[in-house]
């Protein structure tokens, strides 16, 4: 269906009825003419033009084919006119949908100044300029399909949701209506951005992509490891003069125009309009470098974060290293936890800077260790002059393991029930505290926690360690095999986050895996053998009786 839609969608330009009819005619004629030209074409074979034979006429004899083609052309032309209008969308119908679903952010006039606009970062699109970020075209004009795709899938990493819930017809109508906000901009027909021949991903291609990444200095904005921490980051502005952040290339699930290699190659080739991201199609050494770059960028992170639901801490026999970069930690499965902005109490954090924390946890008979990794493009400490705050992270637990389902209020506890926090703050190190709400933090004296953090290429890695059993009742004692409530909080001080202005999670459960004994390799085979012996015995007895 997607293929069909895209074939219809490329109509672009001003959808006058005549052009649509003509286009429809041409399309209907296409399989016919190809069919007629070829003396013998297998039924389902893809035709030379690259479009499948929708007519199913390829198998017929020539005169029959001719007649059938003529008839079919007429029928589908008649049907097609209606359909073509449907695809072109009805701007008036679109207006009704727009005012219900879109105007709150994008504004009634389409100027991106809806009532909610000021809260959002990135800001909603101003349609009156006709500047669209995500295009598959070599000029400014997006195709109808480009607009349809963004409406359908949304813009990951922003407030723009996907609108698959709307009927397809409504989405096409929205496309038609959006275009009326900037009719001048759509006078020029979209010009397809051609991509060089696709290069499959391979270690060689990724290596070449990395070379090119360095040669064309993607790091200037995106950072050496692609984590959006390049030196030009603070200077970047969009077409409207608003600050804009480079994409974190290691989190491609947030790529506005899609996370596939083809999407990435297209963004590199066509650039992102209205932003500092330029087009690179003529700015690589060889055309196929676009694909090598796409393959390299795709290798920087997974296509999807694969968020964890239940967290676990692995039981280990030996010592647990303090060093966050120790190879030990690479051997433990990462668990991605999504964070959201704190919007329950003032000051709210509608646009949180940290959206995911990666947890690796391990424990032995003495201690428990949490390895946390999160991206933060600005390393910052408490600084009154530059008005930055310390980067920080916290693990939240109940004061003691709950016996039922009751847990303290997720937002750092409340007056009646406190939480226990393992905190780390840049410049201060690891601390422990009780909290009865975000503003009521009480440090615990005689800290049992140790912390070691490293920062490189826009990423913090931290190991927080604590004895498994607490020496007093003020702290939680961790017990294996128990579902221990855990929650996360993080602050990007460089983005002005401090206090209640944070990103956080609700409660998760952490389970300390019990040490796996070697009994599991012994007991099942013994049971199997015994069962077999019993079966043989039963069989013998039965036969004897018979």
């Amino acid at each position: 269906m997607r293929a069909l839609v895209s074939r219809r969608g490329v109509g672009g330009g001003g959808p006058s009825s005549t052009t649509l009819v003509a286009a429809r005619l041409a399309r209907v004629g296409e399989p016919c003419s190809t069919t007629l030209a070829a003396t013998r074409v297998a039924g389902s074979q893809t035709l030379a033009s690259g479009s499948p034979d929708y007519t199913g006429l390829a198998g017929l004899r020539r005169p029959a084919r001719l007649a059938a083609c003529a008839l079919l052309s007429l029928i589908s032309l008649a049907a097609g006119v209606g359909q073509a209008y449907g695809q072109a969308g009805d701007a008036q119908a679109g207006k009704i949908v727009y005012e219900k679903k879109c105007a709150l952010c994008h504004g009634e006039k389409g100027d991106g100044k809806g009532p909610a606009a000021d809260l959002l970062d990135p800001r909603p699109r101003d349609f009156t300029t006709g500047i669209y970020k995500i295009r598959t075209t070599a000029n400014k004009t997006p195709t109808d399909q480009d607009l349809f795709t963004v409406i359908t899938h949304g813009m990951p990493g922003t407030f723009m949701p996907g609108w698959k819930v709307l009927p397809e017809k409504d989405r096409w109508s929205l496309v038609a209506y959006l275009k009326t906000f900037a009719p001048e901009r759509f006078k020029e027909a979209p010009k397809k951005q051609e991509l060089p021949k696709e290069v499959a991903s391979s270690p060689e291609s990724i290596k070449r992509g990395k070379e090119m990444f360095e040669a064309i200095e993607c790091n200037k904005c995106h950072g050496a490891a692609g984590r959006a921490d390049g030196p030009s980051r603070p200077e970047l502005k969009d077409e409207w003069g608003h600050p804009i952040r480079p994409a974190n290339l290691a989190k491609r699930w947030n790529f506005r125009g899609g996370a596939t290699r083809a999407d990435i190659a297209m963004r590199l080739a066509a650039g992102i309009l209205g932003t500092p991201m330029p087009t690179f199609i003529d700015s690589v050494e060889k055309p196929e470098d676009i694909w090598h770059l796409a393959n390299y960028i795709a290798s920087l992170g997974p296509e999807s974060p694969g968020y964890a639901t239940l967290l676990s801490a692995r039981a280990v026999a030996g010592d647990i290293p303090d060093d966050p970069n120790a190879p030990f930690w690479a051997g433990i499965a990462p668990q991605n936890v999504p964070l959201v902005g704190q919007v329950t109490i003032e000051p709210r954090n509608v646009n949180p800077a940290i959206d995911v924390v990666t947890l690796r946890a391990a424990w032995n008979e003495k201690e428990i260790a949490f390895h946390l990794a999160w991206d933060d493009p600005t390393r910052s400490v408490q600084d009154a002059v530059n008005k930055t705050f310390a980067d920080a992270v916290a693990l939240q637990f109940p004061r003691e393991l709950p016996t039922g389902l009751e847990r303290p209020y997720f937002l750092m506890g409340d007056a009646s029930d406190a939480v226990y926090l393992l905190r780390w703050e840049n410049g201060k190190g690891g601390t422990e505290a009780h909290a009865n709400g975000p503003a009521k933090l009480a440090p615990i004296a005689g800290g049992e926690v140790t912390a070691k953090a490293v920062y490189a290429d826009g990423q913090y890695r931290l190991v927080l360690k604590r004895p498994l059993v607490s020496k007093d009742a003020a702290r939680l004692t961790f017990r294996p095999g128990v579902f221990t409530p855990i929650a996360f909080q993080a602050w990007d001080g460089g983005a002005g986050e401090a206090g209640a202005r944070m990103s956080l999670t609700s409660w998760y459960y952490l389970r300390l895996e019990e040490p796996q004994s070697s009994r599991r390799f012994v007991v099942p085979p013994v049971v199997a053998v015994l069962t077999f012996v019993v079966m043989v015995l039963v069989g013998r007895v039965a036969r004897r009786r018979a």
Partner: protein, 232 residues
């Protein structure tokens, strides 16, 4: 019949030749004059400085954003002076702007519609990001190995050049519909040669101080000196 055709052909040839010869020669050759314009500004120069955090070996450690540059005798640099309402041929010379020391050199360039060569002699990544309305605006990466990029500015307007990698980089290209223009030098002076004799209106454009006009009379073979004071 054949004869008639031959005669017609000959006639057509002669007529064509006549039209070609009769085309007006460049105005300057016959009785044009020169305008020597001095643009002044009584106010203070406006130069912002910015600390540089990257490419310091090429860009230096401090960037200067030159909003208003005033030289000796209050001469205002980087002003585009042109003769209003003229028409004329495009100049054969290809326009050229370089990115050198993380600056656009020249800071202000005037050209007739056509091609422009954009050079990168810094050997670091720049991106040519233009802001224009009549011409399609461009945002193209120019990595270190791409020494020259050729672009086309075909419609008259004033185009802003920026580079997102080095946010302080700012340049202007004035695309003029005729060849009667100049950009003032460090002392605020520019000369426009071969201007047809007669009364003209001079137009001055400056990136920060805006536009101003002044009447001038040009006499054949003479230099018409004119002084324009920019106000803001």
């Amino acid at each position: 019949m054949r004869r008639a055709f031959g005669a017609f052909l000959a006639l057509a040839l002669v007529a064509g030749l006549a039209v070609f010869v009769a085309r007006p020669a460049p105005v300057g050759a016959q009785g044009g004059g020169t305008i020597e314009a001095t643009v002044t500004y009584a106010g203070a120069p406006q130069i912002q400085t910015l600390k540089i955090n990257k490419d310091t070996d090429k860009c230096g450690t401090e960037a200067k954003i030159e909003k208003v540059v005033v030289g000796g005798n209050k001469g205002l640099a980087n002003a585009v002076v042109s003769v209003a309402g003229m028409k004329g041929e495009t100049t054969a010379k290809k326009a050229e702007v370089d990115q050198h020391g993380c600056k656009f050199v020249p800071h202000v360039l005037a050209m007739t519609p056509g091609e422009i060569e954009i050079k990168n002699s810094d050997g670091v990544l720049h991106n040519i990001h233009t802001y224009s309305t009549a011409n399609p605006s461009i945002n193209k990466a120019q990595p270190k190995f791409k020494k020259v990029m050729t672009e086309k500015f075909e419609k008259p307007e004033i185009i802003k050049l920026t580079c997102d990698v080095h946010s302080w980089m700012l340049g202007w290209v004035a695309v003029m519909p005729h060849p009667y223009f100049g950009v003032t030098d460090g002392s605020g002076v520019t000369k426009i040669a071969n201007v047809p004799a007669g009364k003209h209106t001079l137009e001055v454009w400056h990136e920060t101080l805006g536009k101003q006009t002044k009447e001038v009379e040009v006499k054949a073979g003479q230099v018409a000196k004119v002084s324009i004071e920019m106000k803001k």
